[in-house]
Subunit: 160 residues, 2 copies
């Protein structure tokens, strides 16, 4: 499970690490990590928290990489399909994937204070939801598992 996201870390190394993995992954899978897509991923990695599509778009626009909504949504779709980013349904926002390995069923701890997101893995079909699905004859294709609350830092915060 080892979540990531609420702990201090060498951010520069973390980012370059993840980017490199993303490039390898795309090369291996025949995917085209174009400048807009790469830059979108960089922004997500850099923030290390959930960003709305329009937040991203503003950044991209400021850098001359496109200013209309489809630009952001296309880049995000690509990243999500490539497994390099995830959508946080409870926030309508997006985060970079921090488990750069193979396909996985992600689960998230989402801080309502700072929108920081820690990613963990779930066993999709195991557990009680899987039992319920099997009992009902329901075929699971995708799972959304998100816990909202306060991260250690924000628990200290007066604003909390």
């Amino acid at each position: 499970m080892s979540p990531r996201g609420f702990s201090c870390h060498d951010h520069a190394t973390c980012m370059s690490d993840m980017l490199e993995r993303a490039e390898t992954r795309c090369r291996d899978k025949g995917l085209n990590l174009t400048p807009v897509r790469r830059r979108t991923l960089e922004i997500l990695l850099d923030e290390h928290r959930a960003l709305g599509a329009y937040d991203l778009l503003a950044q991209l626009a400021a850098e001359g990489l496109g200013s209309q909504p489809p630009v952001a949504y296309r880049a995000l779709d690509f990243l999500v399909n490539a497994g390099l980013a995830h959508k946080i349904e409870a926030l309508n926002a997006y985060v970079a994937c921090t488990h750069s390995g193979a396909d996985h069923a992600p689960a998230f701890l989402i801080c309502r204070g700072c929108r920081a997101v820690a990613e963990a893995s779930t066993a999709p079909a195991s557990g009680r939801l899987g039992d319920a699905a099997r009992a009902a004859g329901f075929q699971i294709e995708r799972t959304v598992v998100e816990a909202q609350g306060l991260c250690p830092d924000c628990q200290q915060d007066p604003a909390a």
Copy 2:
């Protein structure tokens, strides 16, 4: 876990049952189940699947119960806060609660074919996500657990 929603049942009885429970619950808690709120719940119960706020609004409007978005959102907020309905985050849509008991941490099986929704319960802090949260010092306040896929009926369907 016993999911509900993909099985045949006596719908009329189911509805009147749930409505009665909702009324009892509101009376006990000093909540005011007004006509708009009650009708909104009825529509959700009747459909037995995820409805968008604007779908609901259209129904309400057709019945002369208000035609502007706030009408629907207020009613839905009330029902969600009262525990009589849930929001399906992955669809930005709403369903009637089928576990009319006390507060619970719901989990959903959502059919992408017909938008039918079965509700189950999760143990919020148990399981692997709870482990990860404790390990990270994260304080969970709310969980979103949603599985998307195909219900038994839609698995047969040619359109699937």
